[in-house]
Amino acid sequence: MIRINNLSKSFSGHQVLKDISVVFEPGITNLIIGQSGSGKTVLLKSIVGLHDVDEGEIWYGDVLFNKLNFIDKKEIRKEIGMLFQGSALFDSLTVEQNVRFPLDMFTDHGLEEKTERVNFCLNRVNIKNSNLLYPAELSGGMRKRVAIARAISLNPKYLFCDEPNSGLDPLTAIVIDALIKELTEEYNMTTIINTHDMNSVMEIGEKILFISDGLKCWEGNKNEILNSDCEKLNDFVFANSFAKKLRDSIQA
């Protein structure tokens, strides 16, 4: 479980996150949604410690993460897997080396054992016969799946995904969403996903946090989102004309 209390963050005097409090539960897919520039990525990067926060608390279970020093944070970070918007695979390493990287860094397993784990993770995300390929040789969907394999290679307790569907076609996006949901349930991970893709929201939104201009505006799940009385959320959810017509027909 990850608990955020009164989190605030600003850059050069401009406040990007304002007093956000939320709890992310394990075993379910937690989504942070909002318009581009609303502060989603800053919130996610603050939670994982890539940004130092101005005020507030970030609890990983019983550990107050944002007050830890670099060495103690490293212990928590071994339990974190992250999928970046652009996959962030290491260009100079092959698929196998990318997935093995966290194992090389943090385990003293032999090469055979590590290769076995790498192959298990790659099979788990349905990547086959691509161990020796470089990231530049992979499609967007494959890169995302390899990044997921790398993120789960150390059996993390926490999984963070920043726009996992950006740049993917709707069908591949659904496959990636389903994979993240499956892994979350299988390993009982605390998964937090940043997205503005409404397909993802309706597909895997077991818990949804909507932020706008750095403020928490709404919290709920995919069943409640269509009936919300939050005006900003409704503007976001029913942004396109098709969605508006659908809402009007339901209301009629």
């Binding site: 990067k45 994982v48 410690g49 890539l50 944070k73 490293k74 212990e75 970070r77 071994k78 974190i80 992250m82 970046f84 918007q85 652009g86 962030a88 695979l89 290491f90 260009d91 100079s92 990287f101 966290p102 860094m105 943090f106 963070f160």
Partner: protein, 215 residues
């Protein structure tokens, strides 16, 4: 090992070619500027040797390496920054600066002095080739000249300079790449800044080190 190949071995070609032709040009220019019977011919070999050892093989080679290796380091690390690969390392709890920069620093500090030695040998060979094949000096005079009044410390001086220059090239370029903020345009700018700042610092430290080591 990868860094030794990318930053060291891959620079051998350009350093060898440039050293050969610089040695040749220095010999020819010295010869055409000393066409006076009162100057012994072996001074052409001596001039070639000292120019190559004192200035070309360390300073000019370092400027060339600043362009090749410096821009390579800045663009590689800069691209890693803008594509979030450095963030990925940080998330995993890896000290990204140490992981990315230290191997490059070690590789250039160890390998660049070898490039200097190689440059000295090839440069003098280039001078001998041009001088003897174009008939401006005999082989015996050139070889006598490169042995005449030889001061071994000049080699040490050249190697010390190259160690400093290697540190400047790698650290300045890595800094420029590591702190890139933006996209591909900024990576290009960082790469240019890396070459410019490294070159200026190399020239500045060339003066300082020469004063300290040869005065």
């Amino acid at each position: 090992m990868r860094e030794f190949i990318f930053l060291g071995l891959n620079s051998i070609g350009i350093i060898a070619i440039i050293s050969f032709f610089m040695g040749a040009v220095i010999t020819l220019q010295t010869a055409y500027n000393t066409e006076n019977p009162i100057y012994p011919k072996y001074l052409i070999g001596l001039g070639c040797r000292d120019s190559i050892i004192l200035e070309f093989s360390s300073t000019v080679s370092a400027l060339i390496l600043a362009g090749k290796v410096g821009s390579n380091i800045a663009s590689e690390i800069g691209t890693m920054r803008v594509t979030e690969q450095i963030d990925a390392l940080e998330i995993m709890g890896v000290n990204s600066a140490s992981y990315l920069i230290l191997p490059k620093l070690v590789a250039t500090l160890i390998f660049n002095p070898f490039l200097t030695l190689m440059s000295i040998i090839i440069g003098i060979f280039g001078g001998w080739t041009a001088g003897t094949f174009l008939g401006v000096i005999t082989s015996e005079d050139f070889i006598y000249g490169i042995q005449y009044a030889f001061i071994p410390f000049y080699i040490t001086y050249s190697l010390i300079k190259m160690v400093f220059f290697a540190f400047i090239i790698t650290s300045v370029s890595a800094f420029q790449g590591y702190y890139v903020d933006g996209g591909s345009l900024e990576v290009g700018r960082a790469s240019t800044k890396a070459v410019v700042f490294s070159s200026v610092l190399i020239l500045l430290f060339n003066v300082i080190l020469t004063q300290l080591l040869l005065s």
